[in-house]
Amino acid sequence: MHGEHIKHDFEPKIVAFVCTWCTYAGADLAGTSRMQYPPNVRVLKFPCTGRIDPVFILRAFQKGADGVLVSGCHPGDCHYMAGNFHARRRFAAFRALLDFVGVDLNRLQFSWVSAAEGGKWVDVVTELTERVRTMGPMPEFKELEHEEQWSTFAEATADKSQVLNTPELKEAYDSIG
C-alpha cells in the first residue's frame, strides 16, 4: 500500500470540480478506505455537475491549475434527475471550443464516479495527475495572466515594423519623426 515516495521536480496542480452526491462521496470513501492517491488534487464540492459553469474551469486554469477534473454521477443517477445530462452536452461543446483556441484537452478530464467507486476515483485522479506530470506545467493561461498588452505595445514601438504594420499607421508614425 505505502508506495515509495518518488521525488519529482514538477508537482502538478489539479483542480477537481465534483458533485456532492456521488464523486465527493466516492472520494470520501477512498479516504475512509485508506486508499492512496496523489495529493495534487484540490477538491471543490458542487451540488451537481449541472452547476459547474465552464467559467469555473477557465478560472481554474487562469489561477494556475495544470489540470482540471470534472466529475459527477453516472447517467441516470443524478440527484436532480438530469443535471449530469445537461452538463454532458455543455462540456462536449466547451471542449470543442477550448480545442479550437488551442488548449490541450489532455489537461481536462471528465468522469463519472459514483459514491461506491472509491477505487475509480483513485484511478482517475492518479491517471490525470501522472498524465499532467509528464506533460509539464501549463504555461498558456499563466503567461496571459502576467501579460499587459499596452506595455508590450509601448516596448514594441521601438521596433516600428512590429506594431506599425499598416501603411497608413507607418506613414503617420514616420511623419511624427
Binding site: 487562469q62 445530462f85 454532458r88 466547451f94 471550443l97 479550437f100 483556441v101 488551442g102 495572466e145
Partner: protein, 314 residues
C-alpha cells in the same frame, strides 16, 4: 434552401434589384401602418452619407415611404426588440424588416421566449448580400465588396416571414472565405492555434460592442460585469480578454444565428464569427442542431438525450 433549384446567378447585383425590394418594403410598411396592424416598423432609412443606411423605427405613413433597402443595410434589426431595448414592443405589434440571417435571430429569440410571433409582422427580404466592412460602397454589389458572412449564406430566402420582398438572386462563384479560414485554423498545430487566438484576443479593448449589438446578449446583468464574485476580469488585459471571448462564444453556442454583427462592429478586427461558426458546426455534428431555422422548444444545450455521445468521459 428549397429555392436553390431555381435561383439566379449573376456577377453583380444592380441597384435596380434593391430598388425593387425597397418599393416592396415601402408598400407593405405603408399598408400595415394604415390598417393599424402595427404601431411601427423597424427598418432602414438612408444614412447621412452616401452608401450608408441607419436603423429606424417608423411610426407614420410619411416616414414609411422613406424606408429603404440597399447593400448598406447590414444591421440586424432584431436587436431592437430584445429585452434590454424592449421599449419598442411596449406599444403593440411591430413590423420588422429582416434579412435571412436576421430571421434566424428572430426565430432564436422566439425559441427563448423573448419574442412572441403574434407580436411581430415580419417583412422578410430576399437578400442577395450586403457590403462588407471597409470596402468600396459603390452602387453594385460584387464579389469584391460583399460581406464575408454572405459568401456562404444558406438563408437567402427568409422562411416564416409574413411577406417576402424580392426574388431570389445571388452572386455567382463566391469563395467561402470563412469556411476556408476555419479549416485553416483547425489544421494548425495546437500551439499555433493558441498563438493565433491569443494575438487576436490580446488586442481586444473590451468596448463590449460585440455584446451590445448581439440580439442574444439580452441578459439584464451580464456575468462579465459582475465582480462579486468576479468570473471574468473586466479590464482590457489579455487574461480577461481570453476569458470574455470564450465565455461569449460558449453563451452563444447553439443560439447564434450567424448575423456576424459582433465581427462587424469590432473595432479591433477580431474574427469573432469564426468562434460562433465553430460552435455552430460542433453542435450540428454532435446534436444535429442548427440554430434559428425555425422557432423550437429548446436549444441543444437546454435539452439532452440519454444516449448522447460521452466518449470523452471516463
Amino acid at each position: 434552401m428549397n429555392a436553390k433549384a431555381n435561383k439566379n446567378h449573376v456577377t453583380s447585383i444592380e441597384p435596380a434589384y434593391y430598388q425593387a425590394v425597397t418599393e416592396a418594403i415601402r408598400k407593405e410598411a405603408v399598408k400595415i401602418l394604415k390598417d393599424e396592424t402595427v404601431v411601427g416598423v423597424v427598418g432602414y432609412l438612408p444614412g447621412r452619407r452616401q452608401g450608408t443606411a441607419s436603423p429606424a423605427l417608423v411610426t407614420t405613413v410619411e416616414e414609411a415611404e422613406k424606408l429603404i433597402f440597399s447593400p448598406a443595410c447590414v444591421n440586424n434589426l432584431s436587436v431592437y426588440l430584445t429585452k434590454a431595448k424592449k421599449g419598442v414592443l411596449k406599444q403593440g405589434k411591430v413590423g420588422i424588416v429582416a434579412k435571412g440571417c436576421d430571421m434566424r435571430a428572430l426565430a432564436g429569440l422566439m425559441t427563448e421566449s423573448q419574442l412572441q410571433r403574434e407580436d411581430l409582422f415580419i417583412i422578410g427580404v430576399v437578400c442577395p448580400g450586403v457590403y462588407g466592412f471597409g470596402v468600396e460602397r459603390t452602387g453594385t454589389l460584387t464579389e469584391a465588396n460583399i460581406a464575408r458572412k454572405c459568401r456562404e449564406c444558406t438563408v437567402h430566402m427568409p422562411e416564416g416571414a409574413d411577406v417576402a420582398a424580392g426574388t431570389h438572386t445571388e452572386l455567382a462563384d463566391l469563395t467561402p472565405e470563412e469556411a476556408e479560414e476555419m479549416a485553416r485554423i483547425e489544421a494548425m498545430p495546437q500551439a499555433e492555434r493558441w498563438a493565433f487566438w491569443k494575438e487576436h484576443f490580446s488586442r481586444c479593448i473590451r468596448c463590449m460592442a460585440c455584446r451590445q449589438v448581439c440580439p442574444f446578449c439580452y441578459c439584464e446583468q451580464c456575468l462579465c460585469d459582475k465582480n462579486r464574485p468576479q468570473a471574468v476580469e473586466s479590464s482590457p488585459r489579455p487574461a480577461g480578454n481570453m476569458a470574455w471571448h470564450l465565455v461569449r462564444a460558449m453563451h452563444l453556442a447553439g443560439r447564434c444565428g450567424g448575423c456576424a454583427e459582433c465581427e462587424r462592429v469590432c473595432p479591433m478586427d477580431i474574427p469573432l464569427n469564426l468562434l460562433n461558426r465553430r460552435m455552430a458546426k460542433e453542435l450540428k455534428e454532435l446534436y444535429d442542431f442548427e440554430a434559428g431555422l425555425a422557432p423550437v422548444d429548446k436549444g441543444p444545450l437546454n435539452q439532452y438525450k440519454e444516449d448522447d455521445d460521452q466518449s470523452f468521459i471516463k
